[in-house]
Amino acid sequence: MLEQILALLPQVIFDGLILGFVYAMVALGYTMVYGVLELINFAHSEIFMIGAVVGVEVFRYLAPHVGNGLLLLLLALVLGGVVAGITAILVERFAYRPLRKRGTTNRLVPLITAIGVSFILQDLVRFIEGLWHNEFFLRMRTVEDLEGSVELFGGAIFAQTKSFILMGVSILMLLGLTYLVNRTKLGVAIRAVAQDLSTASLMGIDPDRIISRTFLIGGSLGGVAGVLFALQYTTITPYVGFLPGIKAFTAAVLGGIGNIPGAMLGGLVLGQLENFFGTYLPILTGGNFGTEYKDVVAFLILIFILLVRPQGLLGQVVKEKV
């Protein structure tokens, strides 16, 4: 058994890394919105799903016309990011802003709104795809340029070209976002609003505009992640966002919510753990417990983290105001 485990190990780590990067990319969106509004934006899972659907559609319609696979992917990433970003802005504008304007102090209200929005988006996409193609399961069209693969370490790891693209893009996203938040004027404004919304507005910052842009950035990142997810895992349904969304949130909490490198780290750790258990549970238990239980593992990790270190791996303790 040990031999079998060791033989699989490099591949498991590599696949876990890919999964981890997907979670990390989605977690960035969760963490940004949470950092600014202290809102678990459940609808972010659906923003991610919309990105994936746009990716599928772009490949479906443009693949015959665009010869170059990389160019096609670039188009899909840009369009997916734009559509998802706009959706995120609309969600903020029509669902969350009215709540903020009224100023209810009850924390349940925005959370329930977020769940509602996420249901609306799921079925809306289902409706559109149903009317358009009469399809529920959307399949990513394959393009030959992107289907290459290499074997690393003497065949121990089978790696697809698109996996490297996924990793590259997510690292770029992390670096770009870190730069944006720490070095630009918009970043300063975002941090100011996150610190204290009313004081920031006294300093000449328009909080609505900043929040709107935060949603735009978080949403486009989610959309880009969705396109890459579709490319990697190929089958998409309108309900595909839920599980990665919850796990990405777990990743964000794991890393310390509101903390951008933390989200990345959390995603990678969670991806490793999940893939590890997903592959080895059937082997370790002699086939009695299957891969299905990997989701259980993810949730148990979440609970464990929240109990032991609620501020997350890289987070700071927030003092409770009385």
Partner: protein, 451 residues
Amino acid sequence: MSVLSLLLSLAYLGLVFLAPGALSNLFGLLALGATAFLRLSPTWRTLNLALLTLAFTLGLVRSGNTLGLIGLVGILVALTTLPRIPGWIRALLGLAILLLSVPMAGFANTFIFELGIQIGIYAAMALGLNVVVGMAGLLDLGYAAFFAVGAYTWAIFGSEQAKNFMQGNFPLPGEYMYLFMAIAIVTTALTGLLIGLPALRLRGDYLAIVTLGLGEVVRILANNLDHPINFTNGPQGITPVQRPPIEWFRELMGTLGVRLDQTTDYQLFFYLLVLLMIGLVVLANVNLANSRFGRAWVAIREDEVAARSMGIPLLPTKLLAFMTGAAFSGVMGVIFAAQRTFVSPESFTLLASITILGMVILGGMGSIPGAILGAAALTILNLDVLKTFSEFVRTSLPQIPSQVDPAKYERLVFGLILVLMMIFRPEGLIPEKRHREEMAASPEGKQGGEA
């Protein structure tokens, strides 16, 4: 005004006699609206409500159109919310609707019974969740897990399923269902303890996420515990589940002059059983709300830090709320399993949890009539209105692909309801007094910070 509304009600009664159906029922709903919202003296109002009850019942018996049921629910709501109607009239009319109108309509169209039972099961669960969310302010997104535990508790032992891992004579005879209702209280309360112990140390958003996760864990277990030992029979679910024998009930109804046939006997039995359960749950709810624990829950909901400094032990108090809510759900799970004779993981998804939460929110958090109204509204919407609309679309616009069947867009409608409610009426349809004050925006509240 009074004469106008009376004329409307009489006109509806006449319409029902001549042409029962959807259109006349719509007219009836209009008359009900007039009765509820026009300025009427209590006497006229009572008279109108009595007339409308009669008319809706007649409409249901004669045409089976389920709009009539919505009318009856509307009258029940009017009876609980409108001011200055004498108590004995409220009680009399309410009982007449529940014990006469609905069964009579059910004999004419058994679907009414099915709707009534489903509404009842969900209403009892909404009342249970109301304790957790409404009173104690703990957002639980995995409530269907307890329903599942209750349902499987009976389904496993009330079918041959238990033979897979136990010696003995299974299925247990149907009478044991009553015993298992008591056992389910214990198993679900224990599950509540198990889930609550880690989860309830957390607050607000984190609690919501963790309960969601644990709810999913229970569903995954139900889905996969068919191997290595077959406990739940996996995605296929368990069937047939035993029902209690009801000869005594048939005899009883016979002496009352009601003859029951094979299609309606169990329906009426479960309908009455569910009504009885709701009565008990409401009683428990009212008593809890006025008890030491109820006040402690509200204190925690309003301000956890203040409550703690007043000496309320946080974790045990919250756990109690959690376990109480779980127990209510568990009992209804047993009834659900027996009524359907079938249990599968499909019934316990996140959507189910959120639907029950939606019922509590739609009705008004913390409000008992609110939770029941919410359950009625959402159940009728899901089981009846959307399905009827689907039927209509399919027959009149056959060129539309089946993917766009309205019955499949339960989530869309439901999401819209949640979002619009939160924006326009977060206190719910029948708000509880304290919640109404809290939800109303106050300028101080804006800076008041974390609740």
